[in-house]
Symmetry: C2
Subunit: 559 residues, 2 copies
């Protein structure tokens, strides 16, 4: 059974609970965009995903991308689907009209990518990288570079890559060694090796635009010596640039997406942004990219849930408690618990992720600086939480869904084990989940003594009355944050030990808030709300307890 | 890096903490078996595993078992390794001397299989099934059947299978439809389809002995109508029996072990045990088989830990808190936490699993009925806990170890992702973890109102002084058990909702006990003990809280 976009479920969260339409329509940029238009766009997107992308899920895994003498041949059907995708205008949905885009809200793009990732995570990797490259070039590219590449990227006619990682420089980009040497004509010669380049080579598009992190000859060591360059696969005059794909990785999953080892050998490139500001240029797109990875977690969990709940509604084994004959497995408590728990994570995650996408739209388009500031705060704090906690749940929850199938879950034909394998990468790429946790606690929450977090929680409380347990979780978080901050002044390593627990605690507090909002609006959401209360949210107490245990009254924490 | 058996670590738990040698030597059957002999056997086993089995780990995954026109060709090297294995006497280590075995304690066999599974889970599936078949035939086979097959199985010259599952009968064996029709000569004709038959066909041995669950013509429906039959691949006269391998499954992992779809077509077989007592004959070996799956969880976690800790000791990325230059990743708190947590689960699991194997030796060989009774109680209660909680941790902990590698963990060359894929099946086979939890709580703990569990905990307390927090956990468990039992009288489905939490709570209580025992004996076990206290054992409170939340004072639980 292929993934089926369930637009009704999505509309209920996006328009029913989040009430996104009037908020967007209030922005000058989207004055013409009403709920009916947005629903129509999403319904069309759903049809495209169901008919063109979902059917390629298995061939992407089984045949996958193949490497042959420097070329990468994508799985059968991938190129055709991609050509149909960009020609229908989907990559350009939320891009600026002056760049060839449709100028629609980013939140629609977020939902589109949720559906695409659920249908076919591997295929979706290719267009998924376009958007960061577009933003990066739009904000930092020179007029000449933009004239040559921006529209091609905006429309998706050409695909793009992010060439950051090197074999010795993964999480630590400061160690990057690739060199860029200035040429008389203003271009640069780039040389070095890059790994883990998704879509570094393929046959989906005629050209590929690489954004490459490299070091100028006189650059200082460390992250501040890094600059960003654009180096296309085909040069403007049509000749092949010095970018070579040496091999593609054999991976646990995501076989539909080629993960390339690239060698830049005197490749011609042009500077994007200022010298030494390469990382800044990339941070522009970081929040959006991380949100999209969080959405992948939600998407894969939805896809796994669809498979497991369909199976549980057909398969009979043993009698459920109180039954007089063999029961559907969906009637067994252990199975119900698994299914309703994932439902709660999916819907709660959707509310938070769609809200984050909406806040990104506010950052771009809201006329009021204070509102933009609040939106920036939301994105800064919630994005790492979505990225880490929902990719974690994407993997663990998909594995729970696999369990619903018993032994059948372990065999390929049911497709559930592919989701588990594919989902595992989301906990690693775009910054490992451990790095997200450190980003949240050490870089964002503690430096201002919890002020931004406090303002975020105040904002949620101000939006409407909340159940007491939601407010209590918020209070506990403030208290823990304050105590942690004080203890960390005496012991700088302390936050690093408990950052994962802190992120998970905030995730659960936000999930509790989201669940309360959904249950308030949607009466049919009883069972997931109960699962949330019974099986999921008690972990909040565990996480805060683990953190507190590390903050002794004396101030000398034991780790 | 292949898995390396670390005999020193194993000896420390088995002889240092558990003090297995004098307990075994006190049994008449093992009067000649002292610590030196046992260590020597294990050291030899370790050498065999390291030199013959571990190097085949990757080819087992990448080439795997192949199906060709009804035949299964095992991965290169598998047959040679198996022939060396049985000819060296390893399968017969703990089997009775009168059957061609060496008569050594079963605990040595348990350690042997831990090492084998860590080195190569796929290869180990083949001999792993021998031991259950041996016990089953030894206790239930007719003299004629034993004369023909027992020694072949005891020595491992022929391998064996367990043919239980059918496509519609997985966890629910009562639904089995395979038929056995009596023949004039006392044999039976067996017809039907079986799935998920590990080693159902292969080229490791000349013959394969299938134990098949089937239904006699006049049998009642449900589990009581099932009988057990022995049907060999080659009949005594050398001709091929009517057992056909139709295909092998494509699986998430464990590619080294062929999972066969078998068709029995008028296959000749002989009854094992009494008609209608097929399931009883199989339950004989259930505890031992489930212990071995729990050991697989421990083994895979040890293998994953070895890889991750070696990588963390070589790879440098970013500065750890307080460091002035780029640090080894093992110095980052998030990585230390992952590694020490797995260390604690491995060593604590070993103590419990070796103890369980020792108790199985007591059941077989202790002259005192009361001691045998206590041993039976231990195995009955602890085995499902080991099977479920340690296979869960085997998978989740291996996934944590994968995380240590960052992006490299997701690519095949490091071998860690294989362990995660292989480990996933252990949560399913030999009874899913959900079924283990129901077995523990609904079938074993509640029916006698927690008496057996209480006796088990009393026994541990009587063995020596325990830290207060260990005793407190035991008390909490007794209390929760009593309350749960009372509440369940009003609501029979209640235990089914919280069985997983209950099993996990007992697992953590036992792990806490094991950790205290190890830390008491081994001063070098500081860091894992601290990880246990800081990051692992707090979950005990979460699990008991989830259960308690379902037991309202009014007696009407809300699930």
């Amino acid at each position: 059974m292929d993934y089926q976009p369930r637009l009704d479920d999505i509309h209920r969260i996006l328009f029913g609970v989040l009430d996104a339409a009037p908020q967007l329509q209030a922005l000058p940029a989207f004055a013409e965009v009403d709920a009916a238009l947005m629903q129509q766009v999403l319904d069309e997107a759903g049809k495209f995903v169901a008919s063109e992308i979902a059917p390629l899920q298995r061939v992407g895994d089984e045949t996958g991308a193949r490497f042959e003498a420097g070329r990468v041949i994508m799985a059968p059907g991938f190129r055709e689907a991609y050509q149909a995708f960009w020609q229908a205008g989907w990559p350009a949905l939320a891009n600026a009209p002056e760049d060839g885009g449709q100028g629609l809200p980013g939140v629609l793009e977020a939902v589109l990518y949720e559906m695409l990732s659920a249908a076919n995570h591997g295929w979706t990797m290719a267009p998924g990288l376009l958007h960061g490259a577009y933003e990066c070039l739009k904000h930092h590219g020179s007029p000449e570079l933009k004239a040559r590449y921006l529209e091609k990227i905006a429309t998706g006619e050409w695909l793009a890559t992010m060439c950051l990682t090197e074999s010795h420089a993964g999480s630590d980009l400061g160690l990057v060694r690739t060199k860029a040497t200035p040429q008389a004509d203003g271009s640069y010669r780039i040389s070095g090796g890059k790994i883990f380049i998704s879509g570094g080579e393929h046959d989906l598009t005629d050209n590929i635009v690489h954004l490459v992190l490299a070091r100028l000859p006189d650059a200082s060591p460390g992250p501040k010596g890094l600059s960003l360059f654009l180096a296309p696969k085909l040069l403007p005059e049509g000749t092949r640039n010095g970018v070579f794909c040496e091999r593609i990785e054999e991976k646990m999953g995501l076989h539909g997406s080629p993960t390339c080892v690239l060698r830049f050998e005197d490749a011609t490139g042009w500077l994007v942004g200022e010298p030494g500001k390469g990382l800044n240029a990339m941070f522009v797109m970081m929040n959006a990219a991380r949100l999209h990875v969080g959405l992948q977690g939600i998407a894969l969990l939805e896809a796994a849930w669809q498979k497991a709940s369909a199976y549980a509604a057909e398969r009979r084994q043993m009698r459920a408690p109180g039954a007089s004959e063999t029961s559907l497995i969906q009637d067994h408590p252990a199975i119900q618990r698994i299914l309703q728990t994932q439902r709660a994570w999916v819907d709660g995650g959707r509310l938070l992720a769609y809200r984050t996408a909406l806040e990104l739209d506010m950052i771009k388009h809201h006329p009021d600086a204070a509102r933009r500031e609040a939106a920036l705060r939301w994105c800064s704090l919630v994005t790492p939480v979505l990225k880490a906690a929902w990719t974690r749940q994407g993997f663990l929850g998909a594995s729970e869904c696999l369990q619903v199938f018993g032994g059948h879950g372990y065999v390929r034909e049911w497709g559930i084990e592919q989701i588990v394998r594919d989902a595992r990468i989301t906990m690693i790429y775009e910054g490992t989940n451990e790095i997200q946790a450190i980003d949240l606690l050490v870089r964002k929450v503690l430096p201002d003594h919890g002020a931004a977090l406090g303002a975020l929680l105040d904002g949620l409380a101000a939006e409407g009355p909340l159940p007491a347990e939601v407010t209590q979780r918020f209070e506990r978080l403030r208290e823990i944050t304050a105590r942690l901050g004080r203890a960390a002044t005496g012991r700088a390593d302390l936050p690093y030990w408990v950052a994962d627990d802190y992120l998970q605690a905030l995730a659960l507090a936000l999930l509790g808030w989201a669940g309360a909002r959904i249950a308030h609006t949607l009466p049919e959401w009883q069972a997931p709300a109960q699962a949330l209360r019974n099986w999921v949210l008690p972990e909040f107490g565990l996480r805060t307890q683990i953190i507190e245990q590390q903050i002794p009254a004396t101030g000398t924490a034991a780790a």
